[in-house]
Assembly symmetry: C2
Homo-oligomer: 350 residues x 2
């Protein structure tokens, strides 16, 4: 990885975590004097130079942002959300004289290879990453190599959510699903089901947590009853139909269902044919066309946040650690778009 | 526009059309000797140099293709087709060491300004244009200024469809809609309606022509009866529902309906609730999820064709003029994806 020492090298020599090294560099008052001295000694002995200024994109006519574009997925209903983000990003970047360069990658290692190639050739000044996951080697590499980047998506690791080296913007899915669930609770009975993804994905677990919070606060149901209202399936339309039927069998009666995606909501809707309200997530054109409620991610705001972080326009003295006040970590609140229900389907109301 | 003389300058001096100048350069045997000499004299006196070699993209690691990305449209069901083309183009370009740079534009004039800026700065070696229209000033400018480009979409003008300076790939929408209509005719009664766009768009008129051809060949209906089966509306979902109701009122009975887009097909489907078969166009994820038939544009093939034309991989001696045999103009045949119908909607079949 070249002769340039990295944060990891410094952490190794000082016998501390990378986060601690970052703290010494960015918020030394948080680090015990003894540890601070040890880290500073390691920095000195290795000749490490922080990349802070290199990591900031200089806004100029030719600045180019690289972003990976994946092959089209089979089920493009909720999947198109990243396309919509790309539109918003390109439009806003263009207004600031920044360009967007697309590339593809077969996996995280290949994407890192692309980072290397595109930044070595000086074709790309900064990267925007999507679909982050816990222990993501891509952000690790970008930090170690002092590249400018922002992710749309949290790091999802407990210890790195507040990493000052990792700038991110994300949507507060938990808040969105909590609001959707509370909305259905206020409209009728307490038996609101949730159709989510199998646990393990940061995004999916976060949204499920929002449903659970709202149900614990407002449904009056027991934990056992809540378990019967919670389904986990892969994100394709027919699974939404199967899941809602299974929930109805298991829980006896549903007063509504909140889904982790519009794909699953469409499936749930086709199986329940308007008998109960269904709320989706992503507010796709399908939700609008069929007239069901959905949680909108506010992608314009996400794109604006990403560009602000990239260009350093967030400015000012940062408040470390708190995703709400730390301008390096931005959680955008989504918006519940309430619709009357799928009255459009059939001459007979669906 | 600089001191460099253009094809238009030559045409002006020689008193001929730009097409004739192109013919002299590309297929002199088609031009009368007298005219040919006049054009050659003009070329000589102006010092005009054809851009043929400059216009061909040199395949090399850093070659970059520029493409405009529009803001997200409200009704993104059929609109997402250009996103899917972008995915296919980026994936295939990447395999050839080519990159895709995105930009935005507020209109044709602004897009030309972007062409100028991006090619002057040598950031972009070639452009891919979408949403072509008759008399498109963008292709005019690119030809005059010797820039490398290919359009996804025909020029749509009678006199420029075979322009050897204008490389294009398009989908044969007329053939696709003709096949869809013939398919419905073969399944039942002859009264197959068409819900298209208001006339005036090359793409929409071409698709309507396919319906008309199939109906004239196979329905046995009079021209007057056909007129009653033909509706023209703007491309948003509720219009599909309104249009199919109007057609049923006007024509008495429909045995099926072919729509110019999946957006309109979705609308028609919601209004007819499975009573009659509906075929859409674009084979979007919505058509797949709801289980209705649709015409698939074969975007992988379009992207491959665009890249072949850009990189000159089509090679060989060209056969001028005929879009079928002229490798500079490629018409891709779409594929009718037949599905059983929207059995998914409702426990009761829709």
């Amino acid at each position: 990885m070249g002769a340039q020492p990295t944060v990891t090298d410094v952490a190794g020599v000082a016998g501390v975590s990378r986060q601690t090294v970052s703290n010494v560099l960015n918020a030394p008052e948080l680090v015990r004097p003894e540890t601070r001295e040890r880290v500073q000694a390691a920095i000195h002995s290795l000749g490490y130079r922080p990349h802070a200024s290199a990591r900031r994109l200089r806004t100029q006519k030719s600045s180019t942002i690289g972003i990976r574009l994946d092959p089209i997925t089979q089920d493009g209903i909720s999947g198109s959300i990243l396309d919509r983000f790309l539109h918003a990003l390109t439009e806003q970047a263009d207004r600031q004289g920044l360009r967007v360069l697309l590339f593809t990658a077969t996996g995280p290692e290949d994407e890192i290879e692309q980072f290397r190639r595109l930044s070595d050739a000086a074709d790309v000044d900064a990267f925007v990453l999507t679909s982050t996951f816990h222990g993501d080697p891509r952000t690790e590499w970008l930090i170690e190599n002092g590249r400018s980047f922002v992710t749309f998506g949290r790091p999802w690791g407990i210890d790195d959510m507040t990493d000052p080296e990792h700038l991110w913007v994300d949507v507060d899915g938990r808040a969105g699903v909590r609001e959707a669930t509370a909305h259905l609770l206020s409209r009728g009975g307490p038996r609101i089901g949730f159709i989510g993804w199998p646990s393990g994905s940061g995004t999916g677990d976060d949204r499920r947590a929002g449903w659970l919070e709202a149900m614990r606060a407002g449904s009056g149901l027991t934990e056992e009853e809540l378990r019967l209202l919670d389904a986990a399936v892969e994100d394709v339309v027919p699974n939404g139909a199967d899941a809602v039927r299974r929930l109805e069998q298991r829980a006896g009666r549903l007063d509504g269902v909140v889904c982790v995606s519009d794909s699953l909501a469409l499936g749930a809707l086709t199986a329940t044919a308007g008998r109960i309200p269904v709320v989706g997530y992503d507010d796709t054109p399908v939700a609008e066309a069929l007239g069901f409620s959905s949680v909108a991610q506010q992608l314009d705001e996400v794109a604006a946040g990403v560009l602000e972080l990239l260009t350093g326009a967030h400015g000012g003295r940062v408040q470390r650690g708190d995703p709400v006040t730390d301008p390096r970590h931005r959680l955008v609140t989504p918006r519940l778009v309430v619709r009357d229900g799928p009255s459009l389907i059939g001459d007979r109301t669906l």
